[in-house]
Symmetry: C3
Subunit: 211 residues, 3 copies
């Protein structure tokens, strides 16, 4: 499996922790929750995308569930958010950067897993994107928010681009650490440029006038 290189594995674990931390913080700010809610929503954010990925790829039981490293890191991210929640506000930039790292790594590794299992390029791009944005989407639905990814910002589109680059490189035979990092960098750069310049995906024609 191309995903087994140590560097990518570490980034995958970092992504899981950061997604859980960030997901729990977001939930904490939006809604009145108890410790069960904060930790649960953190775990859903960190593990949800990979779980949907493994359902779609018929790779059950989900890797995110079988491997206790993922469970532990996701729970730890949620617990950290619960304990030091408000005080993490000054780390907003760091959290945004790590979240973008998670987004990039999940998109690329999701696409790789699909291709490793023999799925086509289209399926790999879809699964990569879902791996990257699925967890946050589940969290938003559970706290009754329209998922951010459906409304604004550049969040799914960088993931789609990263998964697309990964799948394209893979189908030309490049799926080592370097190719993975290159594809992840595409996602990361688009995401951070989007954050920096407050870019948004296109709205439906005429929508702006109605709001």
């Amino acid at each position: 499996m191309s995903t087994e290189t140590p560097l990518l594995l570490v980034l995958d674990l970092v992504g899981t922790f950061t997604f859980a931390l960030n997901g729990a913080l977001t939930a904490l700010r939006a809604e009145r929750l108890d410790i069960v809610g904060v930790v649960t929503l953190g775990m859903f954010t960190g593990l949800g995308g990979g779980t949907i990925r493994d359902v779609l790829l018929d790779a059950l039981p989900p890797a995110t569930f079988v491997d206790w490293h993922y469970l532990a890191l996701a729970a730890a991210g949620g617990l950290v958010a619960f304990v030091v929640g408000a005080r993490l506000d000054r780390l907003n930039l760091a959290i945004t950067v790590f979240d973008a790292v998670g987004l990039s790594v999940f998109a690329v590794l999701g696409a790789y897993k699909a291709l490793d299992l023999g799925f086509g390029v289209v399926q790999a791009v879809i699964v990569g994107t879902i791996t990257a944005v699925g967890g946050g989407t589940i969290r938003d639905v559970m706290i009754g928010r329209i998922p951010v990814v459906l409304r604004s910002e550049l969040y799914a589109i960088p993931a789609l681009m990263g998964a697309g680059c990964a799948a394209a490189l893979y189908s030309f035979g490049y799926h080592g650490t370097l190719a993975a990092l290159g594809a992840a960098a595409v996602c990361f750069v688009i995401r951070m440029v989007g954050v920096r310049f407050d870019l948004h995906a296109p709205q439906p024609p005429g929508q702006r006038d109605r709001a």
Copy 2:
């Protein structure tokens, strides 16, 4: 597989496209979304029912995901809704009719798939109904609406009737194109009669007074 006749396959693809188109239009009218949201919700509406079906039937990876025709048609339905959204208002009747076609075909083919895989009649009826109404339900939950199918109209009941007729005919040995079309027609007619005369499923006793 009984679902492989060309006519049923074409109707299944038509249903996927129409569900996606209609689902994306509904989402577009209810909420402020960007292109990612409109296309995603269209794809969920078109593909969601079949995906739940294949989870319940242990037929993963889902047919809706493996076969790119479904992915492409669902994405196309969402994109058409995004681009020409407002202008489709004058086609409301046509969209309602095609949506009823999708409902009918999904209910019958969902039931057939369960029976083909050796499940019982009860399971087939449930799976047929879920295939037909599942996509729209997911869409509504994602945009924070109580799913229409749980509140009013005749939508799940025609699907249940269609799936029931299909399963009954199948268990008597009739599962050719003609039997499928007959069962689908039962669903279609009940649905259209419900739309025409604004019929609703029964409310709980005493509920009317409280509202």
Copy 3:
């Protein structure tokens, strides 16, 4: 399978019916629904936890779906709630007690199923808890409420304790009816003490001031 003893099987079926009844009543009070909505949400509450369990454990098709006893009892619970809804108010205590029975049995049997299938203790505890609280969570999300389990009360924590005791006893070789009843009793007692004294899971530090 350790879950096959007649007493546990009966309790599992009782839990399914009570969860469906209680879930449908909760939905009925919160939202304007028709018969499809009440019965559907009852069935989701009664069967949802077990379905997620079987997805995570790669035990598809879900036992809750294949075995018509579960389907019938869940549908019956929803129908009873629909028909006699308001008049069940005076049975609130009985319903709370039976709901706690369901919670306890689902937590223990969920953990057992994971261990029977060779999963680890951590996975068993998580799956037991999800089996117990998953159905009600899905119902709440579908009617647009933040799931109670994420916000307040002691509901997930007793389930976690019960599943934890079951998994601990199991790993020491005790997994007969007696051990199961003991672990279930732990969950049941904590839940009922929580109801009686209105206990809640801890809130995030500083959260109280903001509300």
